[in-house]
Amino acid sequence: MALTITCPVCGKRDGYEFRYGGEDKGPRPDEEGLTPENWCDYVHMNDCVAGIQKEWWYHRDGCGVWFSTHRDTTTNLEISDSEVK
């Protein structure tokens, strides 16, 4: 895997060590007033941007932390926070 991911604890490591946790869609919504449609949207629908996306990663073969980072989905390269406008 060519991808590298920068863990906030362990630094830049091979993509093999991580598990993808999906797009960052924000915290769980309050349950009050949720319809099946908007719940399904939260759980299953993705933006699938062609470009820079904020997403979650888990350092599975490492420190075990969940963190979010930015990645350009067109180049599969991680983007540092300073480069994200």
């Binding site: 991808l3 598990r19 924000g26 349950e31 979650w56 888990y58 075990g64 932390v65 180049t75």
Partner: protein
């Protein structure tokens, strides 16, 4: 064996050590260090195989496997390139794509039918009528092809994989690559150097000419190689072919194992910070009629045959070359005893005057501005026609060797496959990199350099630049090295010359696919005017050689033939893998890695039959009776002991531990108490049940819980994921491997424990669902839980892994008088099924939610603020009637059970499936559990089971209440 040249300082064969191989059933001898190709060539074999389409004889042409000419079947493996495979004793070699032999191929007549097979003929002939094509295709397949697969072939070799990290990766172990590696390593960064040949040295390795200081190039190569191999910061991979380059400078390659290595091939995936590409050049073929006739070869091939392998490639030769290296080869081969009828040099001027002097001094006829136009001879070269480039003069020479080479082709694959861009350069005639991948540098001949000092200086500069990108401050040194390089001779002039005045009908631009100059013209006339399209239409460059032979000539010829003004010369693309490799190499080590419990060896000794279960190997049976009747009956009547160590075991503690538990568990976790275990489950966001287990409270804000075997690996990840926005304060500890689990089940189980502990284990002291700390034999700390998975009086003992064997032995000893026996996972499976207890993944699949398997009683709905995972979806589906529900079923035929997974059908469709079903020894009949559509879930409903190969005879079953065994639960609560 023909006479081999011995005692050459450049030799790579050991002439004192013989190697013997079998070719077409006959023994042939060569030397250690020979490739299969050089060994056969030394034995007079000239025709190595027949071409794909026209069955033309093919022989040795390059020496690096750039075309399929020397693809042979070696030890039953087709398409091995004889040029790249070291000869080993006992090898069995056969030629490919022949009917008869390579020498006398009965399909050879096809060569005369080329007029019937124009470019892309299979796209537009034999398609009318449409049903003609399958018939024709069969015949074409028979006639064309590369080797045959032995259906009974089994790989017995070992394959390996490694994933090294480095700062600088240098691709190519020639002078430039070695200079770069040394320079970078001297600056204190780690270097990995990849070289495709079995030795370092590249372009210098076989050459006897001298540099400015009078050193032989070959000895210079060896000095450099010694330095490189001795350098502590350079890791050298020889006989290693780079195949891919990706983002973040991930380089992939594979290495052929030598006779002493533990692997046949190994995959290498290198993570580098910066990369130096010093892959040099291959020769660009000169194209003329019959330019691939055995006996025609490239200058480097002829030169290396002599210098590296000690084989004089022929008796009398004609050279038709376009560069000084060709002249150098002619002079050297002449000195080694080759007769040279003439040298045709397609250049009018620009030759190295020193070399011309040498040619003149040896009285070799030399003709500038001339070129070979046709090789003569039916199966091998007997002569050649040489003419002026304008076609006005033509002479015929008798010879058995034609050394032909139009120019050089830089090996740019490593750059272009990583999104680098190329641009045609008029001076060198090369496609030179115009955009390089990030942190990538090029050095040496790939830039068009030919002068040894320039090649090394460019390597040094690239090495410095690569080291600088790994964080070394080398600005001054880089400027200095750049200045040094600027003062040396720059890139050499090259030409765009591809072919002399020929008809092109038998002039081959691509050997692998039998594509001629005429085919290219046909394609262009049909409107395929871009090399990339011509490549697809004519399949030139799509064969095993990956464009090594036609890759450079195709765009050059296209531009020349179209002759349009401002025509841009465009290269074709390359894709990984740049060199073919075995899928087994990508697959890597064939080693089934599994975890073992602390009781693995003990159970093995007791006759346990193991099966893979998730990441573990577990004892599934303890006899060859896979119904496990004895194991089951012993648990029901006496006491059984089972190793449950694979169970996931966790501790969660901290001020917010309870909040986290409320988030992921479906029940009300406030009810979890000390001294009691609570059974509960986890769902996913669709309400589908993913895990079940028990939990107990150890102390305030401190809990211990178990998960199913399959979920143990992802539980920490799961809990942290679903709390990732909350910033809660808790810690999770995975104790799965730290603790073993012993399950004692059966009416005698209490008696066994009583014998090993002084503490009270009576029903009052430890009732059903209780948990308590015990000490076994005054020493071993054990947490005992009283559970009832199998439906009997049952204890689960959590023991520190290091004490597991001792505890196990004590229990076995104590249990002797109560008939204690091992039971395995399958016996447990039947026992719990009889009790109606589910195993997730068996009684559930991806779509099964909590209420589908009658576990809705675990669901606590009044904790909305906890945002419990699964709660929303469960609420939304609770009244859904279109779901599969878990039921007990009993087969009408009590004699045998259908298989797990059989579908339940009616006349029109599938209505569900059987989860687990067995012939029961505890109750009457064949019983099991099934997931069925809700309308079928009512007790008393008759359902029909479809079995594979039942030929329409469905088996009848009835939906019945569960549990089947001890419905009141008196036994487990005894």
């Amino acid at each position: 064996m023909m006479n081999r040249l011995k005692n050459l300082p450049t030799l790579r064969v050991n002439t004192s050590e013989k190697v013997s191989v079998t070719y077409r059933g006959k023994q042939y001898e060569g030397f250690k260090g020979d490739t299969v190709a050089s060994l056969l060539y030394a034995n007079g074999i000239r025709i190595f195989g027949r071409s794909l389409k026209y069955h033309r004889p093919r022989g040795l042409y390059s020496l690096d496997g750039e075309c399929s000419n020397t693809c042979m079947q070696i030890d039953d493996i087709p398409n091995e390139r004889a040029e790249n495979i070291p000869a080993r004793d006992g090898m069995n070699i056969r030629e490919q794509n022949v009917k008869g032999s390579a020498e006398k191929d009965m399909m050879g007549f096809i060569d005369k039918l080329d007029w019937a097979m124009p470019a892309g003929f299979y796209y537009h002939t034999m398609h009318r009528p449409a049903k003609m094509w399958p018939v024709a295709m069969k015949q074409i397949r028979k006639a064309a092809g590369l080797g045959t697969l032995n259906q009974n072939f089994n790989r017995h070799e070992r394959f390996d994989e490694i994933f090294p990290k480095t700062e600088v990766c240098v691709i190519g172990g020639g002078p430039a690559g070695m200079a770069a590696a040394l320079e970078a390593a001297d600056k204190g960064v780690r270097v990995i150097l990849l070289e495709s040949r079995p030795w370092l040295g590249g372009f210098y390795e076989y050459r006897t000419s001298v540099d400015e200081s009078g050193n032989f190039l070959y000895s210079k190569a060896r000095t450099l190689a010694e330095k490189v191999e001795a350098h502590p910061d350079i890791r050298v991979f020889k006989h290693t072919f780079m195949v891919g380059a990706y983002n973040n400078n991930l380089i992939t390659a594979f290495q052929r194992g030598g006779e002493t290595e533990s692997f046949h091939e190994r995959y290498i995936e290198i993570r580098a910070q910066s990369v130096v590409v010093a892959t040099g050049c291959i020769e660009r073929p000169l194209i003329f009629e019959n330019n691939e006739r055995p006996g025609v070869m490239q200058a480097g091939c002829a030169h290396r045959l002599c210098r590296t392998y000690g084989i004089l490639p022929g008796k009398a030769a004609v050279f038709s070359i376009g560069h000084d290296t060709g002249l150098e080869a002619a002079v050297d081969l002449f000195d080694m005893g080759l007769k040279i009828a003439c040298i045709a040099d397609l250049r009018e001027d620009g030759q190295d005057p020193e070399l011309l002097e040498k040619v003149k001094g040896r009285k070799i006829p030399y003709y500038p501005g001339r070129v070979a136009t046709e090789a003569l001879g039916k199966k091998r070269v007997t002569g050649v026609k040489v003419g002026t480039i304008d076609g006005t003069v033509e002479e015929t020479y008798t010879c058995d060797l034609v050394v032909a080479s139009a120019g050089f082709t830089p090996v740019t694959g490593p750059i272009t496959i990583n999104q680098g861009k190329l641009k045609f350069d008029e001076h060198t005639g090369f496609f030179l990199p115009s955009v390089l991948p990030d942190k990538t540098h090029v050095a040496g001949r790939i830039n068009g350099l030919g002068n040894p000092a320039s090649i090394e200086a460019s390597g040094k500069l690239a090495g410095l630049r690569a080291a600088a990108e790994c964080g070394k401050d080398l600005t001054g040194e880089i400027d200095e090295a750049q200045g040094e390089l600027n003062d040396l001779p720059g890139p050499q002039r090259g030409s765009k010359f591809v072919t002399g005045p020929v008809s092109g009908r038998k002039s081959y631009i691509c050997f692998d696919e039998d594509t001629t100059i005429k085919n290219i013209k046909q394609a262009i006339r049909k409107g395929f005017d871009v090399p990339e399209l011509i490549k697809r239409y004519t399949s030139a460059g799509t064969g095993p050689g990956q464009g090594g032979i036609p890759g450079h000539n195709l765009p050059l010829f296209t531009a020349k033939f179209k002759a349009e003004e401002n025509e841009k010369i465009r290269p074709t693309n390359q894709r990984p893998p740049l060199v073919p490799l075995f899928l087994s190499t990508y697959a890597g080590t064939n080693h089934d890695m599994a975890k073992r419990t602390p009781m693995h060896d003990r159970q093995k000794k007791d006759g346990g039959i193991f099966r893979r279960l998730g990441v573990w190997r577990r004892a599934r049976y303890f006899s060859n009776d896979f119904s496990c009747r004895k194991e089951i009956e012993n648990v029901r009547n006496n006491v059984g002991i089972l190793d449950g160590s694979t169970l996931g075991k966790f501790r969660i503690h901290g001020p917010d531990a309870l909040k986290a538990l409320q988030r992921v568990y479906i029940s009300n976790m406030e009810k979890v108490k000390q001294g009691r275990v609570k059974y509960t489950a986890m769902c996913n966001d669709d309400g589908c049940v993913i895990d079940d287990g028990v939990i107990t409270k150890l102390a305030e804000n401190d809990y211990f819980f178990t998960t199913s075997t399959g979920r143990a690996g992802s539980t920490v990840e799961w809990i942290r994921y679903h709390t990732r926005f909350d910033g809660w304060d808790f810690n999770l500890v995975n104790l799965t491997d730290a603790l073993g689990v012993i399950n004692l089940s059966g009416p005698n189980s209490r008696k066994v424990i009583e014998k090993v502990t002084d503490q009270d284990i009576s029903d009052q002291a430890l009732p059903f669902s209780g948990v308590k700390e015990y000490t076994i034999s005054d020493d071993i700390p054990v947490t005992v839980m009283r559970l009832g998975f199998v439906g009997e009086l049952s204890y689960e003992l959590h023991v520190p892994s290091s004490y597991m064997e001792s505890a196990w032995d004590l229990l076995l000893e104590a249990g002797k008088e109560f008939h204690i026996k091992n039971f395995g996972v399958e016996a447990q499976n039947v026992l719990r099924m009889e009790k109606g207890h589910v195993i997730l993944g068996q009684e559930s699949e991806q779509r099964t939610n909590l209420t589908d398997i009658n576990m809705g009683f675990l669901w606590y709905r009044k904790k909305k603020e906890a945002k419990t995972v699964g709660n929303v979806a469960l609420e939304q589906t609770v009244n859904d009637t279109g779901r599969l529900k878990l039921v007990g079923i009993k087969m009408k035929d009590p004699s045998r059970a259908p298989g797990d997974g059989c579908v339940i059908v009616d006349d029109t469709r599938v209505r569900g499936y059987v989860c687990t079903i067995r012939k029961s020894f505890s109750v009457e009949g064949v019983i099991g559990m099934a997931l069925v559509e809700q309308p079928l879930a009512k007790n008393g409903t008759t359902v029909f089971v479809y079995e594979d190969e039942c030929k329409g005879n469905l088996s009848e079953a009835q939906v019945v209440p569960m549990p089947f065994y001890d419905p009141e639960g008196k036994r487990m609560k005894a």
